[in-house]
């Protein structure tokens, strides 16, 4: 048993690779925006048109949506729903699981079709799965993850923000 959720970090090289995959996907699918959200509700990456909404709130709701549907799948005897589709009048979203740890969220409008998005998502999921599996598989070092002095400064900020 671990003390908490497994930690992982996300480097610049990872960001570059993921951005490359997402940008390629957007070009081929004519979708507007692609986001990567982790299952705990944190936004990991975005590509394409910057979203007009609050991305933090969006990420937390996306993770909740996906998790709730995961449980529904289990009730039906399915191991999972690998993908979800929400259809709007103008805007729609398509969500797909990546390596059981993160979610690819695609926002698209009538410049493209669900069929094309689904088709292009399939290859993108494979590429992203490779990247994320590699990232999660990296051996963890015990070296501190933040520089010294960080803790003291963070405590000062906490006192300031939440009242000393």
């Amino acid at each position: 048993m671990t003390s908490g959720a497994s930690s992982w970090s996300f480097g610049e090289e990872d960001a570059r690779r993921i951005d490359g995959i997402l940008t390629g996907f957007l070009r081929e699918s004519s979708a507007r925006t692609a986001l990567i959200v982790d299952r705990t509700g944190q936004l990991v990456a975005t590509a394409g048109e910057p979203p007009a909404f609050d991305p933090t709130a969006f990420a937390s709701l996306t993770a909740a949506d996906f998790s709730a549907n995961d449980q529904l799948a289990r009730m039906l005897g399915e191991p999972e729903f690998g993908a979800l589709f929400h259809q709007g009048e103008r805007e729609s979203m398509y969500l797909a699981d990546i390596a059981r740890r993160v979610i690819l969220v695609v926002l698209f409008d009538n410049r493209t079709t669900l069929g094309l998005v689904k088709l292009r998502v399939r290859a993108t999921v494979q590429d992203l799965t490779k990247v994320f599996t590699e990232m999660f598989g990296r051996t963890r070092t015990d070296a501190p993850r933040v520089e010294s002095g960080f803790l003291g400064d963070a405590e000062d900020e906490i006192d300031k923000l939440f009242g000393a």
Binding site: M1, T2, S3, G4, A5, S6, S7, W8, S9, F10, G11, E12, D14, A15, R16, D38, R39, T40, G41, Q42, V44, A45, D54, T56, A57, S60, L61, A63, A64, S67, A68, Q71, P144, R145, V146, E147, G149, F150, L151, D153, A154, E155, E157, I158, D159, L161, F162, G163
Partner: protein
């Protein structure tokens, strides 16, 4: 543990307020929302029923600012208090960095508190997390009510402590908040650790920031 994004230089920490129904979890978040400078917090989201009972969760992101080049954010969540929403309670605990258990001090809510605490341990264990090794604090809320149980009684029922097996941690640790009390102490030859606790009246805000400050500092320490 929290995710560090070295590409966007962001650290996000997830804090979950857990506890029995109508205990004041949402009230804690609402008070924080109303008191923190608008520039330091995001939108508060409540997935609630028509009668304002939390159905799925409440969510409030709070921005600590940039520290040594990293943007640090706390994501505050509450879970639904009612037991029949257990599936959503469990989902919210995924990836948690720190837990605040909001207990209802009223004598007649003792059973509900105990049940919620047991449920918290069970749900954490099902995720593979060990609550005794994670930042964890207890808030005894509604201290202003005439039917509030004495703290000693609440502590005995909800925070009896766990055995400290790690020899490095087997030394007396005073409770800085409560003079004369201990977070780690020896009892009948065994080392026992308790979660820190805070008294609160969430509707007036008393104790709300003390609790949040304590848990966020403990979480930040795990980053080092």
């Amino acid at each position: 543990m929290s995710m560090i994004n070295y590409a966007s230089r962001e650290i996000n920490c997830k804090l979950v307020y857990y506890g029995p129904g109508l205990g004041g979890k949402t009230t804690n978040l609402e008070f924080v929302y109303n008191k923190v400078a608008p520039g330091s917090r995001g939108k508060m989201i409540s997935l609630a029923t028509e009668t304002e009972r939390t159905l799925f969760f409440d969510f409030l992101p709070v921005d600590l600012g940039t520290i040594r080049g990293f943007k640090v954010k706390f994501h505050l969540y509450t879970v639904p208090g009612q037991v029949y929403y257990n599936a959503s309670r469990k989902l919210i605990l995924k990836g948690v960095d720190g837990v605040v258990f909001v207990a209802d001090s009223q004598l007649e809510r003792m059973e509900a508190n105990i049940e919620a605490m047991q449920n918290l341990y069970d749900n954490m264990a099902q995720h593979g997390y060990d609550l005794t090794r994670l930042p964890f604090a207890i808030q005894y809320n509604k201290r202003d009510l005439p039917n509030a149980a004495p703290i000693a009684e609440l502590q005995a029922a909800l925070n009896p402590g766990w055995v400290v097996e790690d020899p490095a941690r087997q030394r007396v640790l005073a409770d800085a908040e409560h003079p004369g009390e201990f977070l780690v102490s020896q009892q009948d030859g065994q080392w026992i650790e308790r979660a820190p606790y805070y008294e609160a009246v969430a509707v007036t805000g008393e104790g709300v920031f003390d609790t949040l400050k304590a848990i966020s500092k403990t979480v930040v320490k795990t980053l080092g």
